[in-house]
């Protein structure tokens, strides 16, 4: 049995769910997806989700210790739910463009720090996987973005999710118009998927953080570049569906240098100086939104997925730095300017 964090529905109904069981059949997965679709009424659990905020000044050697400590706040030894000993972990960075000089990608040093952290915690294997939304050549993209230079043996560790063998998952009672999705086996067979997201504004959904990052798990060889079928099926709804599909996730946000304005590609650099971690992705994203000066309650995808009240700060167990100490307003794009978090 996996003792990794799982959404409440899984804990209740599939306490014995294992990696092998996940791979065993789409039927069980279908049940998994169906059971997680809950009403939008908010039920605040007895134990609030834990989210850690840490300050980080630059992508240098200090990042390794900062990430290790921030993730360490969520281990079972620290009162959290994370125990990765002997487990197979897949890191999902946000890898978008070739240019290493823009804040569009999760920084390679940051990804390396995350990988080293999980290896240090006893993980059996820590793979890296991404399916870029626009560019066809993910390996070349990763090379240009500095991943090959920073992470030894990167090519052998990396899975291009656009071109992976897939399994069909029927979606029962989804938020979106989708009735099924084909998703990479390498993810569905993982003990833990870690969304290693970049803190960026997004011109369609407000911000791209740990949950929107999972759009990159939908294979382009099947759905195209970008994953246009997700746009036509409802972007917020698809974000919520993908969140439900992956039962064992952890979020780590590279908010050291983010992107503001017309993100996620054409925006401009924004220094925020933070690392945010947690095993409840809606809580992590809501916390990031507050740091960015955006009202998380305006995010349609959080309205669908944050059914434990994570959009409200009082429903999150905040660890480390306070939001006020790191809050910095990101420039917002178009109508999203109205999403500014009220102050005072």
């Amino acid at each position: 049995m996996s003792d990794l964090p799982q959404p409440s529905c899984l804990r209740k109904r599939h306490a014995s769910l294992t990696r092998r069981a996940v791979l065993a059949g789409a039927g069980l997965l279908a049940t998994t997806v169906a059971c997680q679709r809950q009403s939008q009424s908010v039920i605040v659990p007895a134990q609030k989700p834990r989210v850690t905020i840490a300050k980080a000044e630059a992508y240098d050697d200090r990042v390794y210790d900062i990430v290790r400590r921030a993730v360490g706040q969520h281990t079972t030894a620290a009162g959290g739910s994370l125990d990765v000993k002997g487990k197979r972990i897949v890191l999902k960075p946000n890898l978008v463009e070739f240019d290493p000089n823009t804040p569009v990608n999760t920084h390679p040093t940051f990804v390396h720090a995350v990988r080293e952290t999980f290896l240090g915690m006893g993980a059996a294997e820590v793979l890296i996987a991404e399916g870029p939304g626009h560019r066809r050549d993910a390996l070349d993209l990763a090379d240009a973005a500095g991943y090959f230079r920073t992470i030894r043996g990167f090519e052998d560790l990396f899975h291009d999710l656009n071109m992976e063998e897939v399994t069909r998952l029927p979606l029962h009672n989804p938020f979106s118009k989708l009735s099924e999705l084909y998703l990479p086996k390498v993810l569905l067979g993982a003990d833990l998927i870690v969304s290693v997201a970049k803190m960026k504004t997004h011109h369609w959904v407000g911000a791209t953080l740990t949950m929107k990052n999972f759009f990159g798990t939908v294979p382009g060889s099947i759905y195209g570049w970008p994953k246009n079928v997700l746009h036509w099926s409802g972007i917020p709804e698809c974000i919520a569906d993908l969140h439900n599909i992956y039962p064992r996730t952890f979020g780590i946000v590279d908010g050291i240098v983010g992107m503001e304005g017309n993100g996620p590609i054409q925006g401009t650099e924004k220094f925020a100086g933070v690392v945010v971690t947690g095993d409840d992705l809606p809580a992590v994203d809501a916390t990031c939104a507050r740091i960015m000066g955006i009202d998380p309650q305006r995010f349609p995808y959080l309205q669908l997925a944050a059914n434990h009240g994570q959009m409200l700060a009082e429903n999150v167990h905040q660890i480390g730095e306070s939001i006020a100490s790191v809050q910095t307003d990101f420039d917002l794009f178009g109508d999203h300017k109205e999403w500014r978090l009220p102050r005072g």
Partner: protein, 330 residues
């Protein structure tokens, strides 16, 4: 192994490079005749397999285990007549264009018919007659012109540059072999759809030329593909596009991007010298046709990396086009 510095390519070194890429392709082929994307993959994929078959055709070589390979492809044909991207997938998608191209180039017209029919019956939803009629009735403005029918990645989505170019090329080849008015019409529509999505910077993005009132910037690979598709268009209708692509080609790009830029420019009759070639095999005194140590380079530390089947196949197709055997020369 010692290597010589990258030097100006000659037809001989280009041929040796092609031979080296084909050798690597063959090493990747799976026992059932299909090709994976990468060595680590245990299964074949439609796109990779189709490109590999086209590479052998471009190089004028027989594809190894061709019968098994084409038989495998037929197992991915779905009820719709189109092809799925891999075995587990139940619906057809854009890879149908590549299968049709591979089948037609290898003389398998009968096999190709269902894919051709699928392509003729597939339209991006913005180009569907009902969508267009409603748009006209209600006078709804679109963010960019949508007067022509392109192809989507999957049915039920809008058109994008890559599937539209590949769909156009497949039907262009089909029309060359068996001309028909419906094939010719969709080729013209495909060209029109690509043309009307040109970005303000002179190249092509993946899809729309703008969104939310902001112009999109172009990408090199889609610009190369668009030029390939528009190769019969007079220069005045896409003024500056060739020069724009040539400027892209001077920068470092991936194997895929370099290939599409070269194919687009060569197809438009432009002179495109191959990249300098570093020939380690020659330096070691090996003069056989085995050339796995040959690399193409943009200059210092900028060698083209062929990491996937698609990389290798597209390099073969592009280099063959530069040598005068352009499979898109229809």
């Amino acid at each position: 192994m010692a290597s010589t510095p990258a030097s100006t390519a000659t037809p001989i070194t280009v041929n040796r490079t092609i031979a080296g890429y084909l050798e690597r392709l063959q090493a990747l082929q799976l026992p059932n005749g299909s090709w994976p994307y990468r060595k680590m993959d245990a299964v074949g994929f439609t796109e990779a397999t189709s490109y590999a078959l086209l590479a052998y055709r471009a190089a004028g070589k027989a594809a190894p285990h061709a019968d098994a390979c084409f038989h495998w492809l037929l197992t991915l044909r779905r009820k719709s007549g189109g092809y799925a991207a891999q075995e587990a997938v139940q619906f057809s998608n854009w890879t149908t264009s590549l299968v049709v191209l591979a089948q037609l180039h290898h003389g398998r017209q009968q096999d190709a018919q269902s894919g051709i029919d699928w392509l003729l019956g597939t339209v991006g939803i913005e180009g569907e007659p009902l969508t267009r009629a409603l748009r006209n009735v209600f006078g709804k403005e679109t963010p960019y012109p949508q007067n022509h029918q392109g192809w989507p990645w999957t049915r039920g989505a809008v058109s994008w540059i890559m599937p539209t170019v590949l769909g156009t090329e497949a039907l262009r080849k089909a029309n060359q072999l068996h001309p028909s008015s419906d094939r010719q019409k969709r080729v013209r529509e495909g060209e029109g759809a690509v043309l009307e999505r040109r970005c303000s910077d002179g190249g092509w993005n993946h899809g729309a030329s703008s969104a939310l009132g902001v112009d999109h910037h172009s990408y090199p690979e889609t610009t190369g593909m668009a030029l390939l598709c528009l190769r019969h268009l007079e220069a005045s209708r896409i003024a500056g596009a060739d020069e724009f692509a040539l400027s892209y080609l001077k920068k470092r790009h991936s194997a895929v991007t370099t290939s599409w830029l070269q194919l687009g420019l060569v197809s438009r009759g432009k002179s495109v010298p191959p990249l300098p070639i570093e020939d380690a095999t020659t330096a070691a005194g090996n003069t056989t046709t085995k050339a796995p140590e040959i690399t193409e380079s943009h200059g210092e530390e900028t060698a083209i990396q062929c990491r996937t089947t698609v990389d290798l196949a597209l390099r073969v197709i592009a280099l063959s086009a530069i040598q005068g055997n352009n499979i898109f020369n229809v």
